[in-house]
Symmetry: C2
C-alpha cells in the first residue's frame, strides 16, 4: 500500500519566528480515485504572506483559519496522474488551493487548468495570487493615473514587484521600498522602478523627499512597520492607500501603532483594505487584463525555489524576515 | 464717520486652549458701497470645529490658512442694509463666509440668499455646513443600508446629531458617543438614537459590545481621541469609516496614535476623509436631498447661543472641550 507525505497545522503560531512544532509531518495512504474524481501530484507549492494570517485563530478574518490537525492551506501547481473525471485528463496541469501535500484528490471545484507551455514559476509568480492581487489592488483600489507618484512597500516581493511594473508601464513614477541593497538594485536596474528606498539603511524621510519631491499620490502597502508613518506623511491631497499586507506586523506580539488620522481629513485620503476572496468572480477579468502586460515583456519575475515539501515550514520565516529573493516557491 | 468691529487673526494658535491674544479686536471704517456692491449686517455667526484647522499654518490642508492680520474666517447669516447690486436687495438675508465682522461688503460671489421664514438658528444649524457635511459624509462616503449599525462620535455635535438622525430615519441602528450625561440623554430621548456611550464615564468596549452585539458597519468619526481604537476594533467586515473631524486631537501637542492597520486588511475596511470644499458643486443637490427629512420633522436641532462678536474668541474653546450644548452660534 503506497503512502505520501503531507504537513498538518498542529498548533497556532506564537509571536516570533515560526517554529517547526507548529506543524506535523504525516504519512497518508494514497487514496483510491472514485467516480468523477482525479488525483493530482503536486509539483510546485506557493508560499505567500497571507498564509501567516490563515494559521491564526482570528475567526473574524476574511477566510476561516486553517483547522488544527488539517493540512496546511496553500496554493500550488500539479499534474493529473490518475482520473475518472470526464473533463480533467491525465497529464494535464492544474492550479489551486491543494495545501501542503504531495498528492491531492479532487472532483474539480477550486482547481483551474494551466495553459501548456507556461513555466511553472511564471504561473505561480505572476498568473496566480501575486498577479491577481496586484491587479485588484492597483486598478480596483488605487486607480492610478499617468503622471502620478506611487510608493510600493515590499517592492521586491511577489505582489509589490508586479504592482511597480504595472504602474511603470502605465506612466507613473514608481518608488519601491525594500529591505536590502540587492533588492533595491533589482527593482531599479532590472524592473525599471524610478527609485528605491532601503528601509533598513536609508533615512526614509530624506530619501522619500528626494525621490518624490512633489509628494505621493498612491501608497501600495504590503508590509506595515516603521516605514508606514513616513510614507503616510508624504501623501498628497486625494491620495489613495491600498492596504494589501502588513507582514512586518503579523509575527509581532504588539503590532505597531498606526498614524494619527488628522491627515486623512486634511488631505481627504482614502484607505482601503482588500483581499482576493472577495473578488473571486473578477479573477478571469483580472487575468485577461494582466496578460498583455506579461506578453509584452513588461512584467519580469524571479523565483526563490526551496526544495522538498518539508522546506515549506522554515520557508515561512523567509517571508517574515524578507529573506527571500523573489517569489517563494517550494519544488516537490 | 461710522465704524464697526471686526476680529483679526493675530497669531497662530499654540497647543492648549485658545488664548485671547490669538486674535485682535479692531475698529474699521464702514465702507462706501460701490457700483454692483452691497453691504451686509451680520446677525448670526457660526462657530465650527473646522475653524481650528483654518487658523493653523498647515499649507497642505484643504483650504489655505487664514492669513495673519486678516479677519478670522467663519460662516454666518446677515441682512442686506445697503445695495447697489441688481440681484441683492435691502432687507434680504444672505449666508456665506463673512468672517468675524459686524459688516461685510460684497459683490455677490460666495453669498447665497436665505429663504424667508426660516429661523436663523435652523439655517446655521441644519441648512449650512453641519447639514451638508452630514449629508456628504453619510451618503457620499459611508453609504448606509437599512439594518446596519452606525456609531457616530461627537454625536451631540452639530454634524453628529444630524448624521445620527438621518441614519435613524433610514432604518439603521444608531449609537452615539458624547461627553456628558445630558448629551447622552438628549440624543437618545429627544433625537431617537438607539443608544449612547458617555466616553468620559462608560467602559467604552463593554458598552459598545452591549449596544452593538453584532459589530459596527459604519463609523462616522467627528472627534478622534481615545474612543477611536475601541470603535475601530468593533468594525465588521466591509465596514466604512467616514473621517469628518478629529477635534479631540486638534488642540494637542502630540496627537494620539491611530490603530494598527492589520484589521483594515482582515476586514477589508474603507476609511475616507472628506471636507466640503471638495464638494461645493454638490451642495445644491445635498440641500435638496436634506430638505424632506427636515420638513418631515426628522431632524431636530438645538443651538447654543453666545452673545456679541467678541464672545466668539472664547467660544472656540467650547468646541475643544465639548462644553457647548448644541450648535454653537454667536448672535451679533
Amino acid at each position: 500500500m503506497s503512502t505520501y507525505t503531507a504537513i498538518n497545522l498542529a498548533q497556532r503560531p506564537v509571536p516570533g519566528p515560526i517554529r517547526s512544532d507548529t506543524f506535523e509531518v504525516v504519512k497518508k495512504e494514497t487514496p483510491k480515485v472514485g467516480p468523477g474524481q482525479f488525483l493530482v501530484k503536486q509539483t510546485y507549492m506557493s508560499l505567500d504572506p497571507a498564509m501567516i494570517g490563515w494559521m491564526s485563530s482570528d475567526t473574524k478574518s476574511y477566510i476561516p483559519p486553517v483547522v488544527l490537525g488539517d493540512v496546511m492551506r496553500s496554493s500550488g501547481l500539479g499534474e493529473i496522474v490518475e482520473s475518472n473525471h470526464p473533463d480533467f485528463h491525465v497529464g494535464e496541469r492544474v492550479m489551486g488551493l491543494m495545501g501542503w501535500t504531495e498528492y491531492f484528490l479532487s472532483s474539480g471545484p477550486g482547481l483551474n487548468k494551466v495553459q501548456a507551455g507556461l513555466d511553472p514559476t511564471m504561473v505561480l509568480s505572476v498568473f496566480a495570487l501575486p498577479g491577481i492581487t496586484a491587479m485588484q489592488g492597483l486598478y480596483g483600489v488605487a486607480k492610478p493615473k499617468a503622471g502620478e507618484t506611487i510608493v510600493v512597500s515590499g517592492a521586491a516581493g511577489s505582489v509589490g514587484s508586479i504592482v511597480g511594473q504595472l504602474a511603470k508601464a502605465d506612466g507613473l513614477t514608481v518608488i519601491g521600498v525594500a529591505g536590502n541593497a540587492e533588492k533595491c538594485h533589482w527593482i531599479v536596474d532590472d524592473l525599471g522602478f524610478d527609485g528605491a528606498i532601503n528601509y533598513k539603511t536609508d533615512d526614509i524621510s530624506a530619501k522619500l523627499a528626494e525621490l518624490a519631491p512633489d509628494g505621493v499620490d498612491i501608497y501600495f502597502e504590503n508590509t506595515g512597520g516603521a516605514i508606514q508613518k513616513h510614507i503616510f506623511e508624504a501623501m498628497n491631497a486625494h491620495g489613495r492607500i491600498a492596504v494589501c499586507g502588513m507582514i512586518a506586523d503579523y509575527g509581532t506580539d504588539s503590532p505597531s501603532a498606526g498614524p494619527n488620522w488628522i491627515p486623512i481629513i486634511k488631505k481627504r485620503l482614502s484607505i482601503q483594505g482588500f483581499t482576493m476572496p472577495d473578488h473571486y468572480a473578477e479573477i478571469p477579468g483580472l487575468i485577461t487584463k494582466l496578460t498583455p502586460y506579461v506578453m509584452q515583456g513588461k512584467i519580469k519575475h524571479r523565483a526563490h525555489i526551496l526544495d522538498g515539501l518539508e522546506s515549506a515550514i522554515d520557508g515561512l520565516n523567509l517571508l517574515l524576515t524578507g529573506g527571500n529573493n523573489g517569489k517563494l516557491i517550494v519544488k516537490l
